[in-house]
C-alpha cells in the first residue's frame, strides 16, 4: 500500500468550542467606544447569547485541527460523480477578494457599481456563447435554485399562453433535485425509464407527452455519463405538443466547445459555476446556478436584468412577464467573479480542451476498470462512468465497503448508490485536472481493493482504518436526532 497516497499521521483531537470556553476570554479586537453609550429599554434586551469565550489562538487552533479532518480537492483525487470536483484555481480567490468587489454594497446604485455590472454582463455573454443561448440570468444561488428558476419560467410561459399544464416528464437518469424543483411549481412528475442503452428513446417520450404536459427535464449528458443522442427527436416531440425542454447542465463539463445545448432543441438550461467553471464547492456551497434561455423564454427571466447602453450598464426591473425576483440582491456575485476569472484564464480553446480531457480521463478509467468492476452500460461515456458491485457481491462486498476502503488508500470515493437506475452504483468523474499518474494510482487502488474483496473481505467490511473516525451510526443519528451541543 506504500505507493498509494493514503497513510496515517498524527491527527489532533479537538473538543467542541464550548468545551474550550473559559469565562472572560474574547478573541475579537473591539473598536474604541468613542460615542456615548445609550442603553435600550430593558424590556427589549436580554443577556448576551451564550457563545463560547476563547482567545484568538484557541480559535485558530480549533479550526486548523478541524480542517485537518477534511478531504478536499487540494488533498487528493475527488472523483465524485456528477459533482465535477475539478481543481479550484487560487488566482480566482485573489480576484474575488479585491476591495472593489468584496466591499461593494449591493444598493450603492448602478452609477457607482459599473465594475460589478460590467463583469456580470460580460459573464452572461460568455455563458450564452458557451451554451448557445440568447440570454442568461446569473441570479440563482445554486444548481437546484437554477432549476427552480427554469421551471418557474416554463410555468410562466404556459400561464401566459392561457392554459396551465399539470405534468412534467422526468427520466430516471435525471438529477434528484429535478422532481423536487418541478413539484414546487405544482407539476406532477411523470417518471419514464431510459432505454436499454441507458439513454432516452423517443417513443417512450411520445407515449406520455400530451397537451397537459408542460415539458421534459433532461440531464444531458445524463447521470450514467451517456450523451442523450436522441435529444433532437425528443425535443421535436415535446415541442409539437406545445411543451418545452428543460436541460440540466450540471454535466456541461463534458461538452464545452463540442455541443451547444441551445442549438439542439433545449429551451432552458442551468449551469453550475461550482462544477464546470471551477469555483470551490466549499463543503456544500455557496455555489451559483445561472440559467440560459432562448428567445421565447427571455421575457420570463428573473429581475433585475442588466442592460448595456453605449459603455454603461444598468439594472432593469420593469419587465411585465418576469417570474420575479429569486435572490435578495443579484445572486452570488463573488462566485461569478471566480467563474469569470476562470473563463478568461482558459480561453475558448482551453475550455474545449478541458472537456476533451475530462472525457478522455473518464473513458480511460472505464476501460481500465472494466472487468475489475461490473460495467452495466458498456458504451463510450462522456465525463463520468458508472460501475457497480455485481462482481464483488459474490464475496458479499458492497459498493459502500469499497468506497470506505478507498479512503484508506487516500482517495475520496466516487458517488455511490446514485444514479438509482443501477443497483449499487459506483459513479466515477475524474475531471480534466487529474493527471495520468494520479488516475493510474486510483485505478491501482480500485484493483487492489477488488483483490482484497476476494481474499480478505472482512477487512473491507470494517474499513476505513486510517481516518479520524470509523463508520458512523447513521441510523442512531436519525432515530434520536442530536442537532446541537
Amino acid at each position: 500500500m506504500n505507493r498509494h497516497p493514503g497513510t496515517s499521521g498524527l491527527i489532533f483531537n479537538e473538543p467542541n468550542l464550548w468545551e474550550k470556553s473559559r469565562r472572560g476570554r474574547c478573541a475579537i479586537s473591539l473598536p474604541k467606544a468613542d460615542v456615548d453609550r445609550v442603553e435600550l429599554d430593558q424590556n427589549l434586551t436580554e443577556e448576551a447569547p451564550e457563545l463560547p469565550q476563547l482567545s484568538e489562538l484557541d480559535v485558530v487552533r480549533h479550526y486548523t485541527r478541524l480542517s485537518q479532518w477534511n478531504f478536499g480537492v487540494d488533498s487528493g483525487m475527488y472523483p465524485l460523480g456528477s459533482c465535477t470536483m475539478k481543481y479550484n484555481p487560487k488566482t480566482n480567490e485573489v480576484q474575488a477578494a479585491r476591495q472593489g468587489f468584496a466591499a461593494a454594497h449591493p444598493l450603492a446604485g448602478d452609477e457607482y457599481s459599473q465594475g460589478a455590472l460590467k463583469l456580470m454582463y460580460n459573464l452572461e455573454q460568455y455563458l450564452g456563447s458557451i451554451t448557445g443561448f440568447d440570454a442568461v440570468t446569473l441570479q440563482p444561488a445554486a444548481g437546484a435554485h437554477g432549476e427552480l428558476a427554469g421551471m418557474l419560467m416554463i410555468h410562466a410561459f404556459h400561464a401566459k399562453k392561457g392554459k396551465q399544464r399539470s405534468k412534467i416528464i422526468i427520466p430516471d437518469t435525471a438529477h434528484g433535485t429535478n422532481p423536487a424543483s418541478a413539484s414546487l411549481c405544482g407539476y406532477e412528475s411523470i417518471n419514464i425509464k431510459s432505454g436499454k442503452n441507458g439513454i432516452l428513446e423517443p417513443e417512450d417520450v411520445a407515449a406520455v407527452m400530451d397537451e397537459d404536459t408542460a415539458g421534459i427535464m433532461v440531464t444531458n449528458p445524463n447521470t450514467l455519463g451517456l450523451f442523450e443522442s436522441n435529444i433532437k427527436e425528443i425535443a421535436d416531440i415535446v415541442h409539437s405538443k406545445g411543451g418545452l425542454v428543460y436541460g440540466d447542465g450540471a454535466n456541461m463539463n463534458a461538452i464545452m466547445g463540442i455541443v451547444k445545448p441551445g442549438e439542439i432543441g433545449i429551451d432552458v438550461l442551468h449551469l453550475n459555476l461550482h462544477k464546470t467553471f471551477s469555483t470551490p464547492h466549499g463543503g456544500g456551497g455557496p455555489g451559483s446556478g445561472p440559467v440560459a434561455v432562448g428567445k421565447i423564454l427571455e421575457p420570463f427571466l428573473p429581475v433585475p436584468r442588466i442592460v448595456k447602453e453605449l459603455d454603461s450598464y444598468r439594472f432593469v426591473v420593469n419587465r411585465p412577464d418576469t417570474i420575479g425576483r429569486i435572490h435578495t440582491f443579484y445572486g452570488h456575485f463573488s462566485i461569478m467573479v471566480r467563474a469569470y476569472s476562470y473563463i478568461l484564464s482558459m480561453g475558448a480553446k482551453g475550455l474545449t480542451d478541458a472537456s476533451k480531457l475530462a472525457v478522455l480521463n473518464a473513458n480511460y478509467i472505464k476501460e481500465s476498470l472494466k472487468g475489475t468492476l461490473n460495467l452495466p452500460y458498456d458504451m463510450p461515456c462522456m465525463h463520468e462512468c458508472v460501475f457497480n458491485d455485481a462482481i464483488q457481491k459474490e464475496n458479499h462486498i458492497t459498493t459502500m465497503d469499497m468506497a470506505k476502503r478507498l479512503l484508506d488508500y487516500g482517495f475520496h470515493p466516487p458517488t455511490v448508490y446514485f444514479p438509482l437506475v443501477i443497483e449499487g452504483s459506483f459513479m466515477v468523474e475524474p475531471t480534466e485536472t487529474e493527471s495520468k499518474e494520479d488516475i493510474d494510482q486510483f485505478i491501482d487502488a480500485v484493483k487492489a481493493i477488488a483483490k482484497e474483496a476476494k481474499q480478505d473481505p472482512e477487512t473491507l467490511k470494517n474499513a476505513p482504518f486510517l481516518t479520524k473516525v470509523t463508520r458512523l451510526d447513521e441510523v442512531a443519528a436519525a432515530r434520536k436526532p442530536c442537532l446541537r451541543g
Partner: protein, 444 residues
Amino acid sequence: MRYLPHTKEDIESMLKVTGHSNLDDLFNCISDDLKTDKSIDIPEILSEWELNAHMEEIASLNIACKDYKCFMGAGSYDHYIPAIIPYLISRSEFMTAYTPYQPEVSQGTLQGIYEFQTMITELLGMDVATASHYDCGTALSEAALIALRKHKKSSQIAVSSLVHPNHRQIMQTYLKPAGYEIVEIPYTKDGLTDIDALKGMDNIAGICVQSPNFFGNIEDLKAFKTVSDDKKILFITSFTEALAYGLLKNPGSLGADIVAGEGQSLGIAKSFGGPGLGLLAGTKKQMRNLPGRLIGKTLDTNGDEGYVLTLATREQHIRREKASSNICSNNGLNAMTAAMYLATAGKIGIREIAQQNHDKAVCLKTTLEKAGFESVFDKPFFNEFVLKAPAGFEQKRAALINEKCIFAGVKLEPFYPEFKQHYLFCATETISKADIDQLAKEVQ
C-alpha cells in the same frame, strides 16, 4: 494551460487504452448534426499577470475604495472582519471539499457546521437550526411554504409590509405558482407593523414579521405571537441584521415558531450582495418540516463521537418529488465563516459590538438631526433608522460618493414611493465619531 496536466505522450497512451485515434473521436457517440460548428466567442486567454490587471481595472469601476465609508444597510452591512476569518476559511480542506457525504473524511466540515447550528440556536433562542440556506429571502419563502402546507384550509399568508421589500418579492415568486397568496399587513405612522390590521385578517395560514423591520424599528414580537396563538397559525419572524441579537431579546423567547434570517453580518463580505448566508431555525416541533441539511451527533464503531448528515429522508435526493424543498447545495462555507466569527466574538464580543452598533447609530441620528435632517419615527431601533433629508441632499450625497467615497444612506423612495426625500441610514462599529461629524459637516 496550467490547469491541464496532460502531456502529448499521456494523451497518446491513454487513447490507446480507450481505443480512439484522437481526442475528437471520443465524441463519435454524438452525431455530427448535434455538434456545434460555432466557436465559443470569448476574449483571448489571459496570463495571470494580465488577469490581475484586467480584474483590478474592473473592480476599480466600483466605488468601494480603501477610504470607503458606508452608512448603508438595508440587508447588507459593513462590519469589521477579523484577520483570522479569511485566513482560516481559506484553508483548502474546508474550501475544496464538497457536501460531507463521506463522514469519515469530512469531520472538519461536520463538526464545524454542528457548532454553527448550535451557536445559531443560541443566538436566536430556537431549538433547531439548519446547516444554512441561500439568503434570508429564500429562507423566509421556504418558511412561508411550511406554514401554508400545514394550514391546508387557507392559501394566504400575512406578511408585514416592513419585511424587506426584496424578500417579499422573492416570496411572491416562490408562492404564486403553487397558488398561494401574500396579504400585506400595513404599517402604522410609527413605522411599525399594524397589529390591529392583522387581527382583522381572517383565513390566513401564518404571520411573517421582520424585526428590526426594514425601517430599522424593533417590533413587539410577543404581541404578534399572541395573535398567531389566537388564530392557531404559525408565527414566522425574520431579520436582516444578525448582530441585533447580540443585544435584543431573541425571537425564540418571544414565541417565534420559525425564524428566517440573514447572516451576512457574521464575518461575511458584502460582495455586491452575495453570497450571504440564509439562516433558518425552528422550534422542536418544526424539526422535520425545515428544508435543507442538518448535521447530527452520533458514535462510530469504536464508540467515539462523530458527526453525520442526518434526517436526509426529508430531502430531495431520497424523497424526490415528495421532498419539502429542492435545496441541495446550501451556503456551507459561509455558515462555517459565521461560526468562526461567532467563536471569535464570543459572548463578550458580540454584546460589545452590538451595543456599539446601537450607540453609533444613535449618535449618527442625533448628529444628522442637528444638521437639518428630520426624525420620522420615534421608536427604538438597533443600527438603522429613517430620516427625512433637507432640500439639496440628493446632490450632496452624489458628490460625497464621487469625491470622498462616502455613501450616505439608502434612498427609501424606490422601496416605498410614499417616502420621498427619505433615507435609511445605518451605522456600525466600523464608523467612528469623526466619520459621523465629517458626514454632518458635509451635508449641512
